[in-house]
């Protein structure tokens, strides 16, 4: 399954909904919103990311796995048991659906890392940790989890990690997104944030692992567009131990957020400045110290810059980011009603579930919308 296809360019629909008071709501809304944009996808991929959906296991890494066959499941489970305490292991609930066929084995695990494993792991590494990351006491544990995900995706043929974050999960597959939602019974989950994707891949049969969202830890990315700079983004990431095994450009975005924000300690704003950088002409007009800072970001993170047409909704624990490429070759609209914020490819998809928003506006090229839970609100 993996690596069988060359990189898959695609067009798409995306949606994200965040309740800033962290009130949980059913996945039905996000299905309704993405259903409206049916024509933006072609039935070769759809998916959802829900945040806050596993409150009873909120401190566990929730691994959603796709398996080609039972043998890969056994192999993966043996692999997981080496380093993780598996507190729960179960099939991901689905319902039979007339238009969803050829389903892989879908399984989820709630995991804790065995304590000594992280120590061993960090002892083998020699990474200088940026000051800003010192506060993150799970830093090395997360690095370890990232490495485990990479290893499963690369080494176990026929096994693929759909998501690996805490108190979040990804439900994705081949089909129209609304059908995928029904298949996974997404409406039965409640989360404070949902993102969704309908896919229009252009040169390959879809495969389940190739559907969006793409994730690492609690980062999830739904993406409309194509990363024309994929080649260099990928080579840049490989130098930091990220293996791009999924042959799709979107995967690099999740890894870039993980690298720049979590591992290198850039603020979300600066991470966005690196990934969708302002033009030099603009930077030259900034006053100090901003000019110096943004100039340095472009000088240092040039290989991380995403180029080509894209609009993205990036989810993470406690918030989401909407961002487009620098000349906005793909659409992205933002809406707000009370404490709920919407991001979508189309305004209609927002109005479909929120007929009278307080505000709806089109996002400006390259300028990120970073929405987080209200101050003091815990996810």
């Amino acid at each position: 399954m993996k690596g069988t296809f060359p990189r898959i360019p695609s067009g798409c629909s995306i949606t994200g909904i965040l309740n800033r008071k962290a009130k949980r709501f059913s996945g039905a809304d996000v299905i309704k919103s993405i259903r409206l944009m049916h024509d933006r996808s072609n039935g070769l991929g759809g998916g959802f990311a829900g945040y806050g959906i596993y409150p009873q296991y909120k401190d566990h890494y929730a691994f959603h796995l796709l398996y080609n066959k039972e043998a890969c499941q056994h192999e993966t489970e043996r692999f997981l048991e080496k380093s993780f305490i598996v507190d729960r292991s179960e099939p991901i609930p689905t319902r039979p659906h007339p238009r969803i066929t050829d389903t892989p084995i879908l399984w989820r695990y709630f995991l804790r890392v065995k304590p000594y494993v992280v120590e061993q792991f960090s002892g083998r590494r020699n990474e200088r940790r940026p000051n800003r990351c010192l506060a993150d006491d799970g830093y090395e544990e997360k690095n370890f989890v990232v490495q485990q995900v990479m290893e499963i995706n690369q080494k176990i043929d026929g096994a693929f990690v759909a998501s690996s974050g805490k108190n979040m999960g990804v439900f994705k597959g081949v089909g129209f997104p609304e059908d995928i939602g029904e298949f996974y019974r997404v409406e039965e989950y409640e989360g404070y944030m949902w993102t969704s994707h309908g896919r229009f891949p252009t040169n390959t049969p879809g495969w389940w692992g190739g559907a969006h969202p793409f994730t690492i830890l609690d980062w999830s990315v739904v993406h409309n567009g194509e990363i024309s700079s994929y080649g260099i983004n990928r080579r840049y990431l490989e130098a930091f131990g990220y293996l791009c095994t999924l042959q799709t450009d979107t995967e690099v975005i999740a890894y870039l957020f993980d690298l720049l924000h979590r591992r290198q300690g850039l603020s979300l704003e600066n991470t966005c400045l690196a990934l969708s950088a302002p033009f030099w002409k603009e930077i030259d007009r900034y006053s100090e110290p901003k000019r110096e800072a943004v100039t340095a970001i472009r000088q240092v993170y040039g290989s991380a810059m995403l180029n080509g047409p894209f609009s993205l909704v990036v989810g993470f624990t406690g918030g989401m980011i909407g961002i487009t490429d620098r000349i906005k070759l793909r659409p992205l609209v933002c809406g707000q009603k009370d404490e709920v914020v919407y991001l979508s490819s189309e305004e209609s998809a927002i109005r479909e579930i929120c007929p009278a928003p307080d505000r709806v506006w089109t996002i400006r090229a390259g300028e990120p919308i970073i929405v987080q839970l209200e101050e003091g609100v815990q996810p």
């Binding site: 194509e226 024309s228 080649g231 130098a239 033009f279 030099w280 810059m305 080509g308």
Partner: protein, 500 residues
């Protein structure tokens, strides 16, 4: 025994019916191949096919042809081999040549093609949208740190950077090897184009001082013209270890070329040979190089990037990695097609590796070691057009340097006789009657035009690739495909075959 077995390479044909006997051709020939008796007479044996007379004849009455006289056909012993043996049998010396390796090794640039967007990702029109070529020469850290809590104030100190408005700079060519007029034209063009010129190892003439923020000053094994002021006058400092045309070989500027101005600039007595030793006599290992790098950084108070130029040889990746770790801010790699004012022909034609392979190997190695950001990678040696530039950058170079192409822009006709000092075009000579024909301002304009034309083409290429900034092409080998390359070559270049 006859005087020489050598037959002329070229035949000069004068159409006496059209010739108006103005003698312009006679005056223009730097090699003394033409004289005037009652009419223009050619000494074919002296003609090098520099085309100066052809270009300047007002009646187009002169043509230069390859001498049709052939040896009996032999695929193994070429005419070139035979003539070289005759030459050496006559004089017992090394064969000399100028410019770059001209042997039929082929080119990997010509076996790689670039990608373009169709439908799924839109191409970008550079006439409508911004298209960025700006590149910074200098070492970058791997990460940045910002002041808490807003993260808007940078706390990381970034080393010195030189901003370039195009990723194309001029290669090192010394005053002495080329004329002051040519040197000034390069400096002026670099300044106007937001690019850089490179002094080579011949020092910096005072007339170039106004352009010093656009000049890389070179420190080579002969240390000609190197003093505190010289270092202060540069935008960046380059230690020259080797050159693509003559890896492992020193330099020799004959005393005839060392006139008063050259002597002052190089800080050597007038009329003496300027000998650059093969190695630096204070560099016999990588730690010695590191000392020189830091000596130069100390001397320039860490305000300028200090880099190292090497020839592309078999082990180039490991050498470049060592240089990066020795503290260099940039690594300049010169491929085996790189030009020279003078080199032993056998060295030029048989030593070194193609720049395409060298870029790929070095970029891979530096990335694997996590030190790619530490150095700016400059690639040179046979860059012929903006397509080559784009491919070199896609393979992993930050910048390319052009020498031969720049000389061509000034009028060079690639006769490869730079080492004779007779350049009819006033470029590779110090003879005042020849150098004065090279008009500095006009040459500068032609160089500016060349950089402008290539930059426009680069923008078109980026637009076709659907990206609007050069850093999205840099090292993006996914956008390259090989045509007619075997698997090993594809692997070394790190690219896929066309169709994949």
């Amino acid at each position: 025994m006859i005087r020489s077995l050598l037959t002329p390479d070229f035949l000069v044909k004068v159409d006496h019916q059209h010739c108006r006997r103005c003698k312009r051709c006679v005056l223009n020939c730097g090699f003394g191949a033409l004289s005037f008796l009652d009419r223009v007479v050619a000494d074919n044996s002296k003609c090098v096919a520099c085309q100066r007379c052809v270009t300047f004849c007002p009646e187009s009455a002169i043509t230069v042809e390859r001498n049709p006289l052939v040896f009996k056909g032999n695929d193994y012993w070429t005419a070139n081999d035979i003539k070289s043996i005759y030459k050496q049998a006559e004089v017992g010396g090394m064969l000399l040549t100028g410019m770059g390796n001209d042997r039929p090794y082929g080119s990997y640039f010509d076996r790689m093609v670039l990608d373009a967007c169709q439908v799924t990702n839109p191409s970008i029109d550079p006439l409508r949208e911004p298209m960025e070529l700006r590149t910074y020469l200098g070492s970058k850290p791997n990460t940045l740190e910002f002041e808490e809590p807003d993260g808007a104030v940078l706390t990381t100190r970034i080393g010195p950077q030189v901003a370039l408005e195009t990723p194309i700079i001029f290669a090192a060519m010394s005053y002495g090897a080329i004329s002051l007029q040519a040197h000034k034209a390069l400096a002026r063009a670099a300044k106007r184009s937001g690019s850089l010129m490179n002094t080579g190892e011949g020092g910096l003439h005072k007339e170039l001082y106004p352009y010093s923020d656009r000049i890389i000053v070179q420190v080579a094994s002969g240390r000609f013209g190197v003093n505190q002021e010289y270092l202060d006058r540069g935008a960046a400092v380059e230690i020259k270890i080797g050159q693509g045309a003559k890896p492992g070989i020193g330099g020799h500027l004959p005393g005839e070329k060392v006139n008063q101005e050259v002597s002052q600039t190089r800080m050597i007595p007038e009329g003496t040979d300027a000998l650059s030793p093969a190695p630096h006599h204070d560099i016999y290992s990588i730690e010695d190089l590191s000392q020189l790098i830091y000596a130069l950084k100390e001397a320039t108070r860490y305000t300028k990037p200090v880099g190292v130029k090497i020839a592309a040889v078999h082990n180039v990746a490991a050498i470049a990695s060592g240089i990066a770790r020795a503290g260099a801010d940039f690594v300049y790699i010169d491929g085996f097609r790189g030009g020279t004012g003078s080199a032993p022909t056998m060295i030029r034609d048989n030593i070194g590796i193609p720049i395409e392979m060298a870029i790929a190997a070095v970029d891979d190695r530096l990335r694997r070691e996590g030190i790619r950001n530490q150095v700016t990678l400059i690639a040179a040696g046979g860059i012929r057009n903006s397509g080559d530039v784009a491919k070199a950058i896609a393979l992993g170079a930050d910048l390319v340097a052009i020498g031969t192409a720049a000389l061509l822009a000034m009028g060079c006709h690639l006769c490869q006789k730079c080492y004779t000092g007779n350049c009819s075009w006033g470029i590779a000579t110090q003879r005042p009657e020849l150098t004065r024909r090279l008009e500095t301002e006009e040459s500068a304009e032609r160089l500016v035009n060349l950089l402008l034309g290539w930059s426009l083409e680069l923008k078109e290429i980026l637009g076709a690739l659907g990206v609007n900034s050069i850093e999205s092409l840099r090292g993006s080998r996914e956008r390259l495909r090989g045509v007619g390359l075997n698997q090993v070559e594809l692997d070394v270049l790190g690219i896929k075959s066309a169709g994949r």
